[in-house]
């Protein structure tokens, strides 16, 4: 009897871990797809929408794995030339008007990037949707005509993430992030992200428009349009250096 119970528990555990593995695998594939397995280089435009005003800024973004990222603002003129560098957990910003490099304190990670609804953490991807969460498939739903896995991602206790949990809808066929709901530690919905306008870019199908809608701010929205993106291009670690932060064009 006792042996039977242990065997049963073992089976339950394996089954659970298999589904967990699957969910994690799905998130990883979707994440790799949009961020590139090795590296990526993208040209993007971001529109910040507020009840009284809106503005658009353009930037280039290089990433290598989850460790390294570099972002350069190319427009508008007043912000042009500003760049941001992330090396593992450290973050630096270069501003040409004051020709100074500034290390961003961790307290600024949750603040809006360039006045948008994206936080510095979002842009520089300090936390990983794959490694910092435990994943679980909680259902299937259709979003914009595509059948999606509905995956609940619970933040790991020791992970440095600002969310309590996330629910993501990932396209079953092409592994696309179609929708995400991000919740704070108390379980309140903080923002919704939508993937739209699916296009073939650099040989893979990805949503080319990302919409970010904060929950508690009426009329606030940020839209990022991917104008061009290349995946797995050769990028050395030395590219993500403080020297290059000032030079990069």
């Amino acid at each position: 009897m006792k042996k039977g119970l242990i065997a049963f528990l073992l089976i339950v555990c394996t089954v659970l871990s298999v589904t967990a593995q699957d969910a994690r695998e799905i998130v990883k594939r979707a994440n790799d797809k949009i961020n590139g397995e090795e590296s990526s280089y993208g040209i993007m435009a971001m529109t910040i929408i507020r009840p009284e005003w809106e503005r658009t800024l353009e930037f280039k973004n290089w990433t290598r794995g989850t460790e390294f990222a570099l972002t350069l603002i190319t427009a508008p003129a007043r912000d042009k030339g500003q760049s941001f560098l992330k090396r593992s957990t450290e973050m630096w910003s270069w501003n040409p008007t004051i020709s100074r490099m500034i290390k961003l304190p961790p307290s600024m990670m949750s603040q809006g990037w360039m006045g948008s609804d994206y936080t510095n953490d979002d842009i520089l991807k300090e936390s990983s949707v794959v490694d910092d969460y435990t994943h679980e498939i909680i259902g299937e739903e259709e979003i914009e005509g595509r059948v999606c896995y509905k995956i609940k991602m619970q933040a790991k206790e020791d992970a440095a993430v600002i969310w309590g949990h996330q629910i993501r809808w990932i396209d079953k066929k092409d592994y696309l992030f179609m929708k995400a709901e991000l919740y704070d530690e108390d379980g309140y919905l903080v923002r919704t992200e939508l993937g739209k306008d699916i296009k073939n870019m650099d040989g893979r199908l990805i949503p080319s428009v990302l919409e970010l809608i904060p929950e508690d701010e009426e009329g606030y929205k940020t839209i990022v349009v991917i104008e061009g993106i290349e995946f797995n291009i050769p990028l050395e670690e030395s590219f993500f250096s403080q020297q290059n932060l000032k030079r990069v064009r």
Binding site: R50, E52, W53, R78, N95, K103, G112, M114, G115, S116
Partner: protein
């Protein structure tokens, strides 16, 4: 004989008894007044401190700015706005401000700071940043040098206590270090020679900054260094600028001193990409009594349409007001206890007096005096006593409070440091004679009136036969 005349003679028939009763009322009034004056005076000096170094009495802001202090909630200063505010009869002048937050950085250290764009000339009317520039600094080096001169022991001791402190006035330095008036002439030249700091002010359009003393220490900055400010400008643009530090300022509030950076207001507007826009117009008023402020706010509220909002200092310093209100309640409880003690004191004396004079009352009634007349005489006696006590009490409290108002009590050097850490001025100030003066006297008068009922009731119930035997 008239009742009041008889009562007056009765009082002086037994002087000692009268004196004891008057004294109990006298002390009641005196202590209640001095205690209340000290308490209200201390609050007042704390409010003045924050009002005059930061918020001002009244501010006009964009209607959303107070709830959400971002640079998007600003307003353009049309001449019309200034004119409307200035046309109020209690308004002296309008002082423009631009206030926002930024990240200040110097080399490897950075800290979130409050950036305050000020009009260098107009601001002299209110917070007068220029007068807050550090004039003396007690560094280890200067203290050693001063010690090597011929100085009294107490000064050496106190200098160790205040090592690292900065002062914007000689007066405050003397209070902290306990420099005696007689030593002033001999000692102050030493501080001028070794401890004085050279600081400059700025004018409009100058790419310069004034930094709080504590903040400068944290960032490791001195006059002539460059401070970098980074933040969010109007509509999400990036605010970035570098400024030469022209001066280090000492703010009486340590909280503010820890995070303040002053810029000329036009430079601040350039930094935040908001030409001709302001976050607040500080209204400099002529009469700063509570009623006058309330009325001015009401009038401005009517005269200014959307999108403006008029804020009074109570609203702007809510935390402090609440803290002090809570403290005030505690103080009122203390005074309540004081009154209770006083009430029983007065009542006890009256009780004793009535018991003492029982036989006398009995005899008077026996020889034909009416009870009502006797009770009337008794009431007059008590009223005289109460009046004498209240007059004497407030009469003595008055000069004491006037003296205290002009000469606040300073604590010995050892304590000033503690006060400073909590952000209080190390002095006990008295409140000028005000409403509280009357209300305190009134409360004591009521206590006396209540005490009168006892002998009146006692006389009416008195059995003459028993009273005669007493």
């Amino acid at each position: 004989m008239k009742n009041y005349k008889m009562a007056w003679r009765n009082l002086w028939r037994n002087r000692r008894r009268t004196f004891i009763t008057v004294a109990s009322v006298f002390f009641a009034v005196f202590f209640a007044l001095v205690m209340r004056s000290l308490q209200l005076g201390t609050y007042d000096s704390m409010y003045k401190n924050i009002i005059e170094s930061y918020s001002g009495y009244i501010q006009v802001q964009d209607e959303d700015f107070w709830e959400n202090k971002i640079v998007d909630n600003v307003f353009v200063n049309t001449g019309e706005l200034t004119e409307t505010i200035k046309s109020d009869r209690n308004v002296e002048d309008v002082i423009p401000r631009f206030e926002s937050f930024a990240l200040a950085s110097s080399g490897s250290r950075s800290k979130g700071v409050l950036v305050m764009g000020i009009d260098p000339e107009k601001e002299k009317l209110l917070s007068d940043v220029e007068s807050k520039l550090v004039k003396y600094r007690l560094t280890e080096e200067t203290v050693e040098k001063i010690k090597s001169e011929n100085i009294p022991d107490y000064l050496a001791e106190n200098m160790d206590l205040f090592l690292g402190n900065s002062y914007s006035s000689a007066g405050r330095l003397q209070i902290d270090l306990g420099i005696k008036k007689s030593d002033e002439d001999a000692l102050m030249p030493l501080f001028e020679k070794y401890a004085s700091v050279d600081n400059g002010y700025f004018s409009m359009g100058e790419n310069a900054a004034l930094v709080g003393d504590k903040l400068a220490k944290y960032l490791g900055l001195e006059r002539g260094d460059t401070i970098i400010l980074l933040g969010q400008a109007y509509h999400g643009y990036t605010a970035a600028g570098k400024y030469v530090i022209e001066g280090i300022v000492k703010i009486p509030n340590p909280d503010i001193e820890n995070k303040i950076v002053y810029l000329p207001v036009d430079i601040c507007q350039t930094l935040f990409y908001t030409n001709d826009m302001f976050t607040a117009m500080v209204v400099h008023i002529k009469d700063n009594s509570d009623d006058a402020i309330d009325n001015t706010i009401k009038r401005l509220d009517i005269n200014l349409e959307n999108p403006y909002r008029v804020l009074g200092w109570r609203e702007m310093n809510e935390t402090l007001v609440q803290q002090l209100d809570a403290d005030d309640k505690g103080g009122l409880i203390m005074i309540g206890i004081l009154y209770l003690v006083i009430a029983f004191g007065v009542f006890g004396t009256v009780l004793m007096m009535t018991a003492e004079r029982r036989r006398e009352f009995g005899v008077l009634v026996a020889i034909g005096m009416q009870k009502t007349k006797m009770a009337g005489v008794m009431v007059y006696e008590m009223l005289y006593i109460g009046l004498l006590g209240i007059l004497a009490g407030s009469g003595v409290a008055l000069p004491a409070i006037i003296y205290g108002y002009h000469h606040p009590i300073h604590f010995p050097s050892k304590f000033t440091k503690i006060f400073e850490e909590y952000g209080f001025e190390p002095e006990l100030a008295f409140q000028w004679i005000d409403k509280y003066f009357i209300s305190q006297s009134l409360v004591v008068a009521i206590i006396v009136l209540v005490a009168i009922t006892y002998p009146v009731v006692k006389i009416n119930k008195m059995k003459e036969v028993n009273a005669l035997k007493a």
